[in-house]
Symmetry: C2
Subunit: 248 residues, 2 copies
């Protein structure tokens, strides 16, 4: 085997949002060229790395172009370097689209969490992008379904270990909204009373004086995330591990 020549480096971003019921991911429609109309139409937002740009900066650029947002939760998933990840017509599409002559494209996957407020939805809609329910996605362009699956796996883990869920919720939210989000991402049934009890016992939520308005059922109270309390708890808590805490 010889050294790989003529390769490109790209970034692809799985941008997640939550509409109150379902976990969604931002997809863009790609431009077809005559010979490749059989290729899958929808893809994750992505780009080739530019000269004078690091990979994380490329991801930030892609995210800003796709959502209009700069300060969002953004994390590397993995490097996708399978030599066969794009080939044939898919590789031709890439080379035509970018004006490159690559024989191989290695991509670094990122995932981002954004609040699906009116402004962001208006921005992405104007751009022609779509927020698609993650559970409904069967196929995507290239290996983007695989990148999406890796992003989801990571998101599930993160949501159990750290307070990333609040990146997907409005600043003020009901406990039911939080529970629905966890259920949607983890794909599990969550017991109402247990969830409410445990989440309130954690001390990480602060009640506000506001309640839901114009709902048929009893209006639920709004809460905000208490980041300071969370940070304090993390500091005090022992870390999971072999050497627990003997060095401190």
């Amino acid at each position: 085997m010889s050294i790989q020549m003529n390769q490109s480096l790209s970034v692809d971003c799985a941008v997640f949002g939550f509409d109150g019921r379902t976990l969604k991911v931002l997809l863009i429609e790609r431009r077809y060229y005559a010979p490749d109309t059989q290729l899958d139409r929808l893809k994750l937002p992505g780009a080739m790395i530019l000269e004078n740009e690091t990979l994380p900066n490329a991801a930030i650029r892609v995210l800003e172009e796709a959502t209009g947002l700069r300060k969002v939760y953004l994390k590397q998933i993995d490097i996708f370097s399978d030599p066969a990840r794009v080939s044939g017509e898919e590789l031709k599409w890439i080379n035509r689209h970018h004006g490159t002559h690559s024989e191989r494209v290695v991509t670094v996957g990122y995932y981002a969490l954004v609040k699906l407020d009116d402004r962001t939805v208006a921005y992405t809609t104007a751009k022609g992008a779509q927020w698609v329910a993650v559970e409904s996605i069967v196929r995507l362009a290239m290996d983007h379904k695989q990148i999406l699956s890796a992003a989801l796996t990571l998101l599930c883990r993160e949501m159990c270990q750290s307070p990333v869920a609040f990146e997907l919720l409005p600043r003020k939210f009901t406990i039911r909204q939080l529970q629905t989000l966890y259920g949607a991402v983890l794909g599990i049934e969550i017991d109402n009373r247990n969830f409410r009890k445990k989440i309130l016992a954690s001390g990480f939520l602060c009640p506000t004086s506001e309640h839901e308005q114009g709902v048929a059922h009893k209006p639920a109270q709004y809460y905000v995330f208490n980041r300071a309390a969370y940070k304090k708890a993390v500091k005090e808590k022992l870390r999971l591990g072999f050497i627990d805490n003997w060095r401190y």
Copy 2:
């Protein structure tokens, strides 16, 4: 800015070993070409990615070529994609050495942990490689000092959170050896009695019937790592995080 063309992808490995006193890293001497004799001489083992090879497989290949070992602890550190990470004479050296025409090299750093037994040391010595005390290293070729620093940071974190230390020790070891290793990696003074008490209380060490031989002081007992007990403890223990354990 335009899309980056003519780029290479490489892997570089920080291979750590412990000689009973000091943390060492495997360095190789690079071949000089007439104009570049001012460049730093020592570098981490690394390679360009080959056709039909993933990045993790490239790292496994580099590691095997450098140490003769296949089944070792190997973990990705980070992607180093600063456009200026190799340039000028360093870039010329790379292109000359590999027969490439790259304008940029993005590298993925890995770190590996190996047991410095006679066989491995004989293998690396025969290859002309050197085990150098990490604390003595001031400069390395290209940005390898930075990659080494990132590897060390990760190793410190891993050693506090999981039982990776045993990858660096012989199968049978004394508690003093384990303590010396932690002290060497973390760069801290560790209290003998506290360490001994805590490590034995963890239940993760099994005593053997063997003791040190031919030592001037009282011969210390040998222990082995009880991986089964560790795995059981991890399962039972709550994970650090926001949602502790409510879903289980």
